[in-house]
Amino acid sequence: MKIVVQEAPFNFAAEVEDFGQGRADMGAIVTFTGVVRDNDAGDLDAMEIEHYPGMTQKALEKIASDASARWDLGDVLIIHRYGRLEPGEKIMMVATSSPHRKDAFEAADFLMDYLKSRAPFWKKEHTGGDASWVDAKDSDEDALNRW
């Protein structure tokens, strides 16, 4: 299990390459990458991501452990950035490996649902001199009930 919380960009290709190394018993690797999406008006200047340093690592480890207990996983990777990010930048990624694709897909989906509403990150949008906190959606909380 590898959990990284950092301000700097990460190299997606290198991370995926490294993640799969040396595990010939893992037939499936699933990855997901979250990207800062511009708003509909196309005037998002930046997304600022705040986090709770003491808690973030612990919360992410718990989410990854819960996924590992539930699915047959070889490994789990979570990278999540904080700080000021511009549209198009990668915010975060997860990767899961498993002997079979179903477990890898489901576990990645589970990780994303829990990262949305159980990991202590908060997003603030900066648009043309204004800034506003992104509200959590009811649908994010509802998504947890799937599991």
Binding site: Y52, K58, I91, K116, P120, F121, W122, K123, W133, V134
Partner: protein, 81 residues
Amino acid sequence: MDILYFAWVRERIGVPRETVTTEAKTVNDLVQELIAKEERYAAAFADISALRVALDQDLSDFDAPLDGVREVAFFPPMTGG
């Protein structure tokens, strides 16, 4: 006891963290003490259904006891991913 605030809760209260001496038995008691202190706390805690709390860096709830707790954090629902 250290109290930490994040996102708009931090902005409304005006500090990211502070140390308080309290006899509060539960999180709810602590919130009431803070509200009584100053208007900025009353503004931040006006609707606690819009807030989450962590005790010693684990998510908890407002009925939870504060026995032995060293760090309380208040924040809005999280928006990670």
